[in-house]
Symmetry: C2
Subunit: 518 residues, 2 copies
Amino acid sequence: MSNGAQALITTLVDSGVRVCFGNPGTSEMHFVAALDSVPQMRGVLCLSEGVVTGAADGYARVTGRPAATLLHLGPGLGNGLANLHNARRAHVPIVNVIGDHATCHKKYDAPLESDIEPLAEWSHGWVRRTESGADVGRDAAEAVAASLSSPARIANLILPADISWDEGAEAAAPITPSSPTGPDPAVVADLAELLRSGQNSVLLVGGPATTARGLAAADRIAAATGARAMVETFPARLTRGAGVPALERIGYLAEQAAFQLDGVENLIVAGTRAPVSFFAYPGKPSDLVPEGATVHHLAGLDTDVVAALEHLADLLGPGTEPRLAPATDVAVPSGELTAQNWVQVIGALLPENAIISDESNTSGILLPTATAGSPRHDVLTLTGGAIGQGLPVAVGAAVAAPDRPVIALQADGSAAYTISALWTMARENLNVTTVLLNNSAYAILKLELSRVGAQAGGPKANDLLDLTRPTMDFAKIAEGFGVPASAATTCEELAAQFAAALAEPGPHLIDARIPALF
Amino acid sequence: MSNGAQALITTLVDSGVRVCFGNPGTSEMHFVAALDSVPQMRGVLCLSEGVVTGAADGYARVTGRPAATLLHLGPGLGNGLANLHNARRAHVPIVNVIGDHATCHKKYDAPLESDIEPLAEWSHGWVRRTESGADVGRDAAEAVAASLSSPARIANLILPADISWDEGAEAAAPITPSSPTGPDPAVVADLAELLRSGQNSVLLVGGPATTARGLAAADRIAAATGARAMVETFPARLTRGAGVPALERIGYLAEQAAFQLDGVENLIVAGTRAPVSFFAYPGKPSDLVPEGATVHHLAGLDTDVVAALEHLADLLGPGTEPRLAPATDVAVPSGELTAQNWVQVIGALLPENAIISDESNTSGILLPTATAGSPRHDVLTLTGGAIGQGLPVAVGAAVAAPDRPVIALQADGSAAYTISALWTMARENLNVTTVLLNNSAYAILKLELSRVGAQAGGPKANDLLDLTRPTMDFAKIAEGFGVPASAATTCEELAAQFAAALAEPGPHLIDARIPALF
């Protein structure tokens, strides 16, 4: 017999949830108190909800399992929405526990009262308001199972304070999540025939197919048929580097994608969708499938995508081996840092088995090339385009994989959104090395200002894309949040500081001053 | 003839909107470009949307006029929701311009696509999606008029990128907002009779009645009848200090309010509602109106509340003068800073005509007493309880009133939410002196943990309310964002640094290290 909060946390733990990223308020005090009665649940405090939800996203990308979040009422959930948007696009499991006023208090329209349901429904996941203490265990078990649907999604459990504090609740048994559908043999056979036809075909993989097994299967298909295998623009987790098939990613800019897909007759998609332009531009198409090309669907996200790829690979060439990227030695360059050379420093020094949280934006355009032959690593990308993701995702990845070095490659403008993530890195002594690409601009927007055809920016327009006056000193900011920091203006400095940061446990930040690419 | 963005901005300017706080993205590039063609609109860049919306709130509290905001798609609006919640509870006008994908691009479900309407509707204001370039001028004029309804509210204009960029739009003429209803003479007469009865009555004022005119009228009513005049717990803008009637505020804690209202037979509300508990607590009532008391409504927020109060005051005692608080000399205390003495430093040194953005939370409990006889000033409070408001509101207040000293009294935990507001203070060289009350705890939650009856916190629970490990160094953080900063541990240091900050133009931050009150 326990109170609702204890029953909830016990059910979450029994269902495999072991971490709760949280920023609690008064209505969550019983949840907070209950943490001490359930030792298997770790509470990780974050200083704003954008960090909470981004950390849960990063944790899920690395483990495949949901973390819980603890959010305070509608405004707390509101603060977390942007990174939930990214998590939704990453198709990861998350269990949000959203505290609400006690049921009897709702009608008084107290100052913090707001409509929670519309915000919870916004990320197109699972939403439940627990109505009584007798339901809280079952609701928690269902939330975990719902988060682990195929595809995975965000489960939102709205928890009134009185449900937390009332005694008499009981934990519920875990619920087995639904499994993905198996591949459709007829579809696989048809696509095998198509791929044998010799037409110009691209196999585009995404979702769960961008880690080693999926990439190997995709590359075997390419090797057996001459088709090209490619990866979606913003994979949730992309395994790459030496010993992993090196699949080209579809470019962010529509112009790049058009170039990459020029002449394609068949576009076969698995675990992703046919590519569309990130934004619309006057007079340019949104659909990036070349005119005349046909889109074929091997497997959607409700299907076991990797199994479908392996089935197709086995049909096409049972003995075909994937072509693994060779290890290459990149020399550390020298001289002033530029948008071109900083990536080579990373490429040269990237440690084995690293996780890169990549929100380097324009500064990182050349990163994939520079790290292609680095030791095997995983890259977590900005799946939904809502900036402020990189540092929180790094927090979650480091909590998920304490034995792996986590490297946050972080643009300056985006960093400012969720900068307090640094504090959680310090508190939890997380092995995160942040390289802050400080070009003192919303460089992407300077590019976009011209791409959308807007009249060449006048002084007021340019001022809104400029991050000088003042230039942020991220080393000072990091130290203020308790993270040891340094600044680098040359490749030599960046290399020395990066190596030193990796060699020492706990978080570090390097404020890398580089000119903007645009 | 102009494009949609130009027509929109011109209409806003013609309707009296002169500042746009923004954090733009690609879909807003034409809006950004158009700023150069409309010189009367000032663009103020903020590094996250919580700063944008909080600044618009602060601007409106000081001017009574809406600022525009520029927000990027659903996630940008999401980031701004918490401070829009506070603005909604402050009943201020704001015009949100929320950029969306081009109309033709929506169906592709691009990575940043999301449902904007549910988020726009969440703050219970006015929502419009502009459907064509021919409508954009009219929609903008209606948005401004809607924001200036009685009560004022948040107007949300969703602006697809193609509406911005298409040529052929025209600005529209301003629309006169609806006026508040006049006071009901019968209600005023009835309440005058009630107040003459000699029963134990409290007149509780809020909304527009908490600045000098409304307070004067309320105090005249009290002086004429022996009733007590009080102010709502979290006024949007409270004028106080020497020369202003000193009305007691209803306390935040239900226990305080119960003590203040004990024995009251009649509670007359004007521009506010009968008080309710901020949160629910097991076994305690949410409704703070004492048993047996009757609530009477003088004027709601759709009514000219100040006129109603003046009408009532004139009926009760045409010659009665308000009782103005005397100026008092507070000595600067000495010794180590405590939660008790830092407020005396502020009280002693508060400059004439200051604006205080008060998010000092538990550290500021004794602030009203210490500043009661300081020179006249305005206090902007945490109306909706969503933390992270104080620094953004200070930004907006300083933009609104460049000739007045703005003082942000800011708790540490709340500061971390929207800390990049410091950067905008630096960029715009705003006269904001931030006193950062650094007690290294969510002290309010330590109090609340016991108040909600939760089992005495174990180590994990207490850890989630603790902001040591590491203690934030806000002076370093401020310098990193470009704001000159210092730290104070004694009253003498705080006094010297506070006086120096006020004497020098531009922003400053003082990291005041004080023990937590709880």
